[in-house]
C-alpha cells in the first residue's frame, strides 16, 4: 500500500508492506537513532514524536502514520543538542542506547509540562528505561536543562 508522510520535515511517499511497523520504516530511511530495545512496548527506546506527541514507533503500523508528521532525534536539531550537553556534563551517558528515546520524550515533556516537579518528571518519563545508569544522572541533567531553559 502507498503511504505519504513527513519525517523530520521531509515528505516521503512509499509503497510499503501492510504489516510494516513505523520503526522499521524509519530505520529503512536512515533514521537509525530509533532503537528497538524490548519488543514488548515497554522500554521507550523507539520513541518518536507524531504530530508533537510522543509515541512508540515499534508498536504503530507505518500505515497509521500516513498523513502525519514524524520527528526523530535526527530532526530534533538544536533542542536535542542542548539537552545532550547537560546529559554529557552529568555523565548520564553510559552505553547511550536508550538516549534517543529519552531525549525525544524529554523534548515532548518540556513542551507539555510547565515547571514540572521531580515527581511529575519521573511520571512523564516512566516509560523510558535505562539499564546502565540508575537514572540519577539523567534526573540531574533533566532538572538542570529545564531550569536553564526556563530562564
Amino acid at each position: 500500500m502507498k503511504i505519504s508522510l513527513t519525517v523530520n520535515g521531509r515528505k516521503i511517499q512509499e509503497d510499503i508492506q501492510e504489516s510494516m511497523l513505523l520503526i522499521d520504516f524509519l530505520r529503512s530511511h536512515g533514521y537509525t537513532s530509533v532503537k528497538r530495545g524490548c519488543e514488548t512496548s515497554n522500554c521507550g527506546l523507539c520513541t518518536v514524536l507524531m504530530d508533537d506527541h510522543p509515541i512508540l514507533s515499534c508498536s504503530m503500523l507505518a500505515a497509521r502514520a500516513d498523513g502525519h508528521s514524524i520527528v526523530t532525534l535526527e530532526g530534533a536539531g538544536k533542542e536535542a543538542e542542548a539537552f545532550a550537553e547537560f546529559m554529557a556534563k552529568e555523565g548520564a551517558e553510559q552505553c547511550g542506547f536508550c538516549s534517543p528515546g529519552l531525549i525525544m520524550n524529554v523534548i515532548a515533556m518540556k513542551k507539555e509540562l510547565k515547571n514540572p516537579t521531580k515527581e511529575e518528571i519521573k511520571q512523564y518519563l516512566s516509560g523510558n528505561l535505562c539499564r546502565c545508569s540508575g537514572y540519577m544522572s539523567q534526573m540531574r541533567a533533566i532538572e538542570k536543562y529545564l531550569q536553564e531553559e526556563s530562564v
Binding site: 500500500m1 501492510e18 504489516s19 514488548t40 512496548s41 515497554n42 521507550g44 520513541t47 506527541h53 510522543p54 509515541i55 512508540l56 508498536s59 504503530m60 503500523l61 500505515a63 497509521r64 500516513d66 520524550n105 515532548a108 515533556m109 511520571q123 512523564y124 518519563l125 516512566s126 516509560g127 523510558n128
Partner: protein
C-alpha cells in the same frame, strides 16, 4: 509475530463494520498494543482512526468518550477527573509510560475486557455505558458478561453523578501490570466495589453504604474469587484483595487507613 494481510483505514463505521464481518479473523486494531504481542495472521486489520472517535465530549449529563480516545486523554481530562477526584487518572497513571498511553485506546481495552485491565476496574464502579455500532447502548456492568461479538465499540459514556471514588493497585514494579487492582465509588449512598486482575476480569458489586467492612469483605470474597498465575499466587492475591478493598472503602468513607 503479528502479520497483517490488508490494512483498512475506514472512513465510516459502516465501512469498518462491513469489512469486519467479511471474515471471522478480521479485526479492529484499536491502539494495536496488545495485538502486536500476538502471533497470528489478520486478514484485514481495520483502523478506526479516521472515524472521528478520538474526542471526549461533555454535556450537562455525561461524558461521551470516543473509542479511539487514548489513556493519556483520559488521564489529562480535567472535568472528567474532577468528577471522580482523579480516580480515572490514577487508574491509568502507571500503565507503562506517556508514549504507550498516547496509543492505548479506551475502545480497545473495554471491548477486550482484559483480565489485567486497570481502566475496566475503574470504569465499572462509575455509572457507565458502552455504545456499540449494532448492539446500541448497554450498561458496562452488563457488557462485561456479553460474548465477544462482531461489533464495533464506538463510545463509552460516563454519566455525571455526584460521587466519591477511589482506585488502588499493586504492581511488582512501578509500570508493570497490576498484580491486583481495586476501585470503588460511593454514589447515592450506594457503595460500588470492583476488583480486577484477580487475574480474571473485573467484577463489581453494589452494597449499602452502612455495611461495615467485614460485611463488605464477605461479599467481595463471594463475588470476586482470586486465582494463581505467573504473576502471583491465589493466596497472595486474596490477601491483597482484602487490603486494597479496605483502603478503597476507607477512602470512600473518609476514614484514615
Amino acid at each position: 509475530m503479528l502479520k497483517i494481510q490488508k490494512y483498512v483505514r475506514a472512513e465510516s463505521l459502516e465501512e469498518a463494520y462491513q469489512e469486519l464481518i467479511k471474515n471471522r479473523n478480521n479485526q479492529i486494531i484499536g491502539g494495536m498494543l496488545w495485538l502486536k504481542m500476538e502471533d497470528r495472521v489478520i486478514p484485514s486489520a481495520i483502523d478506526l482512526s479516521k472515524c472521528q472517535l478520538d474526542s471526549i465530549e461533555e454535556n450537562e449529563n455525561e461524558f461521551k468518550i470516543g473509542a479511539m480516545c487514548t489513556f493519556y486523554q483520559l488521564e489529562t481530562h480535567e472535568a472528567l477527573n474532577q468528577m471522580c477526584q482523579g480516580m480515572i487518572a490514577k487508574s491509568v497513571r502507571d500503565i507503562v509510560g506517556v508514549q504507550f498511553k498516547n496509543m492505548a485506546t479506551i475502545g480497545g481495552s473495554i471491548y477486550s475486557r482484559f483480565g489485567f485491565s486497570d481502566i475496566l476496574t475503574a470504569l465499572l464502579c462509575l455509572d457507565c455505558d458502552v455504545v456499540c455500532y449494532k448492539k446500541g447502548q448497554i450498561a458496562l456492568k452488563e457488557y462485561i458478561h456479553e460474548p465477544y461479538e462482531k461489533d464495533i465499540l464506538t463510545h463509552v459514556i460516563i454519566h455525571k453523578r455526584k460521587m466519591k471514588a477511589a482506585f488502588e493497585c499493586v504492581r511488582r514494579s512501578s509500570t508493570d501490570f497490576s498484580v491486583l487492582n481495586a476501585a470503588g465509588a460511593l454514589i447515592d449512598h450506594q457503595l460500588r466495589i470492583c476488583v480486577g486482575a484477580r487475574p480474571h476480569k473485573a467484577e463489581m458489586i453494589e452494597i449499602e453504604e452502612q455495611c461495615d467492612l467485614q460485611d463488605i469483605l464477605k461479599q467481595v470474597h463471594e463475588a470476586m474469587p482470586c486465582e494463581s498465575n505467573m504473576r502471583a499466587s491465589k493466596e497472595y492475591r486474596e490477601h491483597l484483595r482484602d487490603v486494597l478493598v479496605e483502603k478503597v472503602v476507607n477512602e470512600l468513607k473518609g476514614e484514615k487507613a
